[in-house]
């Protein structure tokens, strides 16, 4: 409830009036033209000096990390680390909120830099021209605020959720979990708030490390360890791009601080706005492409998305926070942060757009055919991240950021709901083995939260925030004459998303009550019923009805005969409730703080601002053969933005309807649905989609197997040649020794013989050589 209060506070502080639901076209165009005109003059402002208390935002999670680590060191066997975590993260969120309020009220300049201390200085001569400096400093602007608000806010909520979810591990990995959790938030705040690319890189690697640690949290489970490794390795590929981009930035701009980079990029932006594309050197155009590779790795985009579905091996709070809401949006953040650089490249943003769109479609098709609900959510995350990238690519960084924001809430909620199910049903995630969960006693909150989340993800018209954020991206895609194809792909994806989302909902949360518990019956099934009964409201029923039906259906699961699903406790329910309300509440942000919503308003005053878009668009039209008549495309003659409000809503609705017909109407058992009847129609496509289009196998075949062969080859070379040479050095004296050893037998004759033979040879030499 406290969270709701803070949200309303945010809304109250925003003085902007609520805009009209449908903006008329000429006004829109006129405003954009105005922005365009202003952009030519306006540069990204030089940063002001930020107050040092802002450093509390990253430092508080670090404190939480140290405290949790101390708990681990002292083998604390209580929920202490969880409460410490919630406390630290909540405090961090409070500071973030204060930061936002001060920025929006102008008390802190936007942007501004708060420098903590000099972190790294590399000098190769006198003066600033011969050194690269990386301070531990924070770059504060509205983009930072936006990201930090949902990072710290969601981290606090999910920390609270995890305090209950991870209760089974109290005394074992509990402290470790929360230590890594805190470290993640610290790394994420370094990533988002750092005033230079190196600090971002530190955070980037830090979140990668925490992701690895938390995916592999159940380190005794081979699949979890494998998934952790996979995530780490795939991310390394992207990180290589990021590192190269960072170095190239340092080489070309002579600095890695955002303020300096933006200042030095200003002449190029001016050149861009004047259509002099030839004045932008190729190196500058290469930098965003390299950075983009890093973003693709971290945000699970097309070539490198394979790690994210596997990352679901981690505990669900981790999946919700790291692999749905925050870390995976780091790529979006990176592009948004360095948007001026991306604008300078002719190719970078189209690549981003196409990659995003194709990822969205591919992940959606895979998600349609999966049975593991958490995995479906993972693919939907990949898909939605694709939306965000497409949004960035089609020049609506505001839409992308808004989608990041809304997605963070509803996807976290979806994951937490799935996690609650998994928690309650002993690790069961197969949608064929669960049914009617939402109507079981004690599961109402989960069911409602899941419904809200699904509606948002499906983009149910008007009443969901997901609809509005998705709509912004779709509208902008159709509005851009070069990106209409992407718009169509995204529209198709929207329909598929609605279908597979509600496929999960209809099969798991409504319908006949039925369940088969999973195999993780350890702490949940038997012994600690009492404790759960004590802290869980509604847990007393324990799904006896479901039990009866279970019996009726005649699946004699004797092994699980005494299994009682335990409904989520107060912490989980509270968090889900808050998130459900928040998911709706953020709709309001669409209509406050500027004509395109609060988020866009924030974005406009950051490095990812609209001024640059306009310049880019102008440059693109300069470069293109056409005049201005295609500058704003239409959707079958209608204004794209307006049309999309209807079309995307209808598409989402159709998807939901199809799911309803196939998976809800007339369904009697958990395992079967009408959709099965359709399987022959699509032929092997369903099987291929279920096999994730065999991308993993493809990677295995084209990367892993050749590498393995090469590695074995090098191993052989190493064994035979390198080791051979080394061994030779050992072997020569050894062989000499072993061949000479018999001569040192201690037997008199041997010595006498060698003496006589030596004498003979000696005299022979005297005779033959010396004559």
């Amino acid at each position: 409830m406290g969270f709701m209060m803070t949200l309303s506070t945010i809304l109250a502080t925003l003085a902007s009036p609520i805009a009209a639901l449908a903006q008329s076209e000429p006004v829109h165009a006129a405003q954009q033209e105005a922005g365009h005109a202003a952009a030519k003059m306006e540069a990204i402002a030089a940063p002001g000096v930020g107050p040092l208390w802002l450093l509390l935002i990253p430092v508080l999670p670090l404190v939480g990390f140290v405290l949790s680590a101390l708990c681990a060191a002292f083998k604390v066997k209580s929920k202490l680390p969880a409460w410490l975590t919630v406390l630290c993260l909540g405090a961090s969120f409070a500071v973030t909120l204060a930061m936002y309020l001060q920025i929006s009220s102008g008390q802190i300049a936007n942007p501004s830099v708060a420098t903590g201390f000099e972190w790294i200085r590399v000098s190769w001569g006198l003066g600033d021209a011969h050194s690269i400096v990386a301070n531990f400093g924070l770059y504060i602007d509205s983009l930072t605020c936006l990201w930090m608000l949902f990072v710290t806010g969601l981290a606090t909520l999910i920390g609270l959720y995890a305090s209950e979810y991870m209760a089974g591990d109290v005394g074992a990995g509990y402290c470790r979990f929360f230590a890594a959790f805190n470290l993640f938030v610290f790394s994420m705040s370094c990533l988002v708030m750092g005033d230079n690319l190196l600090l971002l890189y530190l955070g980037w690697e830090g979140v990668g490390l925490c992701s690895y640690l938390l995916i592999g949290y159940f380190y005794k489970k081979p699949s979890a360890v494998e998934a952790g490794k996979k995530a780490f390795i795939v991310n390394r590929i992207g990180d290589l791009g990021l590192a190269l981009g960072l170095m190239l930035t340092a080489v070309h701009f002579g600095s890695i601080e955002y303020s300096v980079i933006f200042a030095k990029a200003q002449p190029y932006l001016t050149a861009l706005s004047e259509g002099r594309l030839g004045d932008i050197p190729a190196v500058v155009q290469l930098i965003p492409v390299l950075l983009m590779i890093g973003a693709f790795g971290k945000s699970a985009q097309l070539p490198l998305y394979v790690w994210l579905p596997d990352a679901m091996e981690g505990p669900t709070p981790v999946s919700a926070l790291i692999h749905a809401a925050t870390m995976v949006t780091a790529g979006v953040y990176l592009i948004a942060r360095t948007y001026p650089l991306f604008l300078l490249s002719e190719t970078a943003l189209p690549i981003v757009a196409w990659t995003g769109a194709l990822t969205a479609l591919l992940a959606a098709t895979i998600g349609m055919a999966q049975f593991d609900i958490k995995r479906i959510m993972a693919y939907s995350t990949v898909s939605q991240l694709g939306y965000m990238f497409a949004g960035l690519g089609v020049l609506t960084s505001g839409g992308a950021a808004f989608h990041v924001f809304t997605h963070a809430f509803f996807k976290a909620m979806l994951f937490l709901s799935c996690g609650a199910v998994m928690h309650g049903f002993a690790g069961q995630l197969d949608l064929r083995k669960l049914s009617g969960v939402g109507s079981m006693p004690g599961w109402r909150v989960v069911g409602i939260a899941m419904l809200v989340g699904c509606l948002n993800l499906a983009g149910f018209p008007v009443i969901t925030s997901g609809y509005w954020s998705k709509d912004m991206i779709l509208g902008e895609a159709f509005a851009n004459p070069h990106m209409v194809a992407i718009g169509w792909i995204l529209l198709l994806t929207a329909g598929l998303t609605a279908y597979y989302t509600f496929r999960v909902y209809f099969r798991v949360f409504v319908g006949p009550k039925y369940f088969e518990p999973g195999d993780e019956v350890h702490g949940h099934g038997g012994g600690d019923h009492g404790s759960h009964g004590a802290d869980a409201h509604g847990a007393d029923a324990h799904g006896h009805k479901a039990h009866d039906e279970h019996g009726h259906e005649g699946h004699g699961h004797d092994a699980h005969a005494h299994f009682h699903p335990h409904a989520p406790g107060w912490a989980i329910n509270t968090v889900l409730a808050i998130l459900a309300i928040a998911a709706f509440a953020v709709i309001g942000l669409r209509f406050v703080g500027g004509h395109e919503g609060w988020v866009s308003g924030l974005i406009e005053h950051s490095s990812a601002n609209y001024a640059g878009h306009a310049m880019y668009a102008a440059a693109a039209s300069h470069a293109g053969a056409g005049g201005d008549e295609h500058a704003h495309a239409t959707f079958f003659g209608y204004d794209a933005h307006t049309a999309m409000m209807y079309v995307s809503g209808v598409v989402g609705f159709i998807g939901i309807a199809v799911a309803f017909v196939l998976h809800f109407v007339g369904r009697t058992t958990a395992a079967k649905s009408r959709a099965d009847a359709l399987l022959p129609l699509v032929g092997p496509l369903a099987k291929w989609a279920q096999g994730k289009w065999y991308v993993d196998e493809l990677y295995n075949a084209i990367i892993r197997v050749p590498l393995l062969v090469l590695a074995h080859l090098f191993h052989l070379i190493d064994k035979a040649i390198v080791d051979g040479i080394v061994d030779l050095f050992g072997w020569v004296p050894k062989f000499t020794g072993s061949s000479l050893r018999p001569s040192q037998s201690g037997v008199l004759h041997g010595y006498a013989l060698s003496m006589a033979g030596g004498l003979a040879v000696l005299v022979l030499i005297v005779v033959m050589v010396m004559k």
């Binding site: 037998s745 201690g746 037997v747 008199l748 004759h749 006498a752 013989l753 006589a756």
Partner: protein, 130 residues
Amino acid sequence: MNMLASIPGAMDAVISGTTLAQASAPAPMAASQLAHYLFVSAALFAIGLIGFLTRRNLIIMFLCTELMFQAAGVALIAFSRFHLNMTGQTFVIFILTVAAAEAAMALALVVLLFRRRESLNAEEFSEMKG
């Protein structure tokens, strides 16, 4: 012919001016005769050496060293005769001395070793200890 003729008159036989047990002022000896003696000496030495190397009985090994002493003695005496110089014979006296000393010491050691191992096999004594 000369050889055949000389067989009956054993001690007085004279072949090419060489007398057995010359009373005084022996005649010069041809280098080819010296070569004969040197070959015999070398062969004796080689046989002794081979015996020393192949036989494993400590006593026979020492006998073989005595054989080699003999060879040296023959060579020395032959040179002494060739050069009409007594030093060669004097050296043979010293060889005898050394041989006698060696025999005394060596045989004492052999007795000692035999007491220890009840064997005269030289290969038994291949360790520094014991």
